[in-house]
Amino acid sequence: MALREMRASLSAAEAAISARREGEYGRWRDWYRGDWFVGFPVTRDILRANVALMSGEAPAPGRGVVGSSEVYRYQERFSENFPFLYRESSPGR
């Protein structure tokens, strides 16, 4: 019963992702690639892993949850310039 529900959930998640692809047309192709915060792909991964575990199989590898630290991973040059991004912006320089 639980496995059947889990499989149904996985199908529903994949259907939702598939429907969403219809919004990725023209200049907006790949628009949802960065969906880390709501996390449709991660949700699907979790469901896949659960289906595998409940079926007695090894869980499929997943993508992992992406947090804000990854989303805002750029701007590393700030580390020597804080609170600015560019050293030359610091008043008095």
């Binding site: 960065g34 880390w36 609170p83 560019y86 008043p91």
Partner: protein, 602 residues
């Protein structure tokens, strides 16, 4: 004879009709001064691109009309010496503008699009594009490129006058921009996403007559996205996390962060930010929060009472205001009471200095947390998109009816100094954002009508603009159904004031209730957001409630039970056995017909 007279009459009338309009073609020259501010020139560059799309050629841009030219001309910009002759009447205030046809000094038919100041001139240029060329402000996001026309007829009696705006500052906050960060990353790895996309965003803000931007969740004061916003003519604002522009998300791990223990450190960093940002127009945000997006006592638990915490925040605000006033004495300063700030302020623990504009945040779903206390001279921080465990960031979530009701409350109270809307990745929420931006620009067109009337008219207009007149009514009906959908929703302990992400009440209580079930609706005398719903053992109270009852995670039965979408307690019911209560200012009403209450259920 009669026949000849008739033919002549038709010819004369036809001639008059032709002469009564100005034909804009690709070759109609623009007259633009060489001294236009950069922000105006950038807007004119956008309109030149619109001109090319609609009329087929880039415009002919001249510094002054040729003496021997007697054909029509288009006067644009702010700086031209011709302005004083073409617009003699005084402007009604800042950011006013006109788009009209008249005769210039040489007797040429002239289309004039100019404004009272830099942003007025920018809005005038974009208004010409929208009103005459038919370019939708959202064309980039909704894929509605304007159609080629070749020529455009402009009535000679055209005289459009706009402004001043209802809200003084009207801006966008690009927040939790995960879609942008992968879709259009910055090749230089400096901004979260590309400056090209930022340019599109700022262009759209200006096309919608906004004047302010918070360009990113964790922007540095000197990040190029901020510089670009300023160069496009927008005021910079800082959200509630980054007071005076300090990026605390990136706070160095080896430096203490505590205004209580090490005030000199934070004072020094705040001052550096104020010194740098003072070169731009700012709406300064003051306050004191912890690193990232949390109360400061998460990192610094030494202050253990609301009184002490409020006192520290008040001291920090006072220090920041002093710094800002020394650099920009007349700049607008706001205090954005997000989350714990609102709670402490309601309890009387935070002191806001004179002249600082108090900004009420909403609950993340379009209902401000003022608890009915909003006053003249204040402002609002709003959401049309929201990222959290119980909000959907990827599609529209705030019904237009709620926008009219809640922002209308602020307009009626005179709280129109500041409006900032958080719209995450922009593209998922154009409908609700358009609704809000139109309202904050000119609320007079809506304020005397009912929220229901405004909602219906807006959905129809949006549907017509996006899907065409033939399908507009049907599409509007579908939108209405979408926003009325009751969905399940949850909430977390300790975060109050959340009206679930589902559905506005469309005033359709009776329609939605199953036959045989009672459903009553009355206006709340106080308005505001004090309300609760109850489903058997579960209860929910808003931020304005004095007590919390049944304070636990809410898990609605499948299909939902009831929702409150607009203020003044507009409820609708879905027929699930449920009782609904409403409460204002300490009085609560429940389940009796004829009382001030709603009873939905068996």
């Amino acid at each position: 004879m009669i026949r000849i007279f008739f033919i002549l009459s038709v010819f004369i009338v036809a001639t008059l009709c032709v002469e009564a309009s100005l034909t804009l073609s690709a070759d109609t020259p623009w007259i633009v001064s060489a001294g236009e501010p950069e922000a105006v020139q950038r807007a004119l560059d956008d309109v030149a691109a619109d001109w090319y799309k609609v009329l087929g050629y880039d415009p002919i841009v001249l510094r002054e009309p040729p003496e021997n030219w007697r054909g029509p001309v288009v006067y644009l910009g702010l700086d031209g010496p011709w302005l004083k002759d073409l617009v003699k009447e005084p402007w009604a205030g800042a950011e006013c503008f006109v788009v009209r046809v008249e005769k210039d000094a040489a007797g040429r038919t002239a289309l004039v699009a100019t404004g009272s100041d830099v942003r007025g001139a920018i809005y005038a240029a974009y208004a010409l594009s929208e009103e005459l060329l038919g370019v939708d402000p959202w064309y980039f996001w909704t894929d509605h490129e304007p159609a080629f026309k070749g020529t455009v007829e402009v009535p000679e009696e055209l005289s459009l006058r706009f402004g001043p705006p209802t809200f003084e500052y009207r801006g966008w906050f690009i927040n939790d921009e995960d879609l942008f960060s992968a879709f259009c990353p910055d090749p230089m790895r400096e901004n979260v996403f590309s400056l090209e996309m930022y340019d599109r965003i700022f262009e759209t803000v200006l096309r919608l007559r906004g004047n302010m931007a918070v360009p990113a969740t964790f922007a540095f004061p000197d990040e190029q996205s901020q510089v670009l916003a300023a160069r496009r003519g927008l005021a910079l604002n800082m959200h509630h996390i980054q007071v005076v522009g300090l990026n605390t998300y990136r706070w160095p791990a080896d430096v203490p962060y505590s205004y209580q223990e090490y005030p000199e450190i934070l004072t020094r960093e705040w001052q550096r930010c104020v010194d740098f940002l003072s070169q731009f127009e700012n709406v300064w945000t003051v306050g004191y929060r912890g690193k990232h997006d949390r109360p400061f006592w998460v990192d610094d638990p030494s202050l253990d009472s609301p009184e002490k915490r409020g006192a520290l925040i008040s001291r920090a605000i006072a220090a920041q205001v002093e710094m800002i006033r020394k650099k920009q004495p007349d700049a607008m300063i706001i205090s954005n009471l997000w989350m714990e700030g609102a709670t402490l302020y309601h309890a009387g623990h935070i002191e806001i200095p004179t002249g600082v504009v108090l900004v009420w945040p909403d609950d993340g779903a379009g209902v401000p947390r003022d608890g009915g206390q909003v006053k003249a001279g204040q402002g609002v921080y709003y959401h049309t998109a929201m990222l959290s465990s119980w909000h959907n960031q990827l599609s529209e979530m705030v019904p237009p009816g709620r926008i009219y009701a809640e922002l209308g409350r602020f307009v009626r109270a005179g709280a129109t100094r500041f409006f900032l809307v958080n719209l995450s990745d922009v593209r998922p929420v154009p409908l609700s954002t358009d609704c809000a931006m139109k309202f904050v620009w000119d609320a007079s067109a809506y304020i005397e009508k009912s929220d229901q009337e405004n909602r219906d008219a807006f959905l129809l207009d949006w549907s017509r603009r996006q899907f065409g007149a033939a399908m507009a009514a049907e599409v509007a009906r579908v939108y209405g159904g979408y926003f009325d959908l009751p969905t399940t929703g949850g909430r977390r302990r300790g975060i109050s004031g959340f009206i679930p992400r589902f559905a506005s009440c469309s005033g359709s209580c009776r329609r939605r209730c199953a036959p045989g079930r009672r459903c009553r609706r009355r206006e709340s005398p106080g308005g505001g957001a004090r309300w609760r719903w109850s489903s058997r053992r579960r209860a929910y109270w808003s931020a304005g409630a004095k007590r919390r009852v049944g304070w636990r995670d809410v898990s609605l039965p499948t299909g939902g039970i009831s929702s409150a979408g607009t203020s003044r307690f507009s409820w609708h019911c879905t027929g699930i056995p449920t009782r609904c209560w409403a409460r204002t200012r300490g009085r609560s009403w429940r389940g009796r017909a004829g009382r001030r209450m709603w009873r939905c259920g068996r």
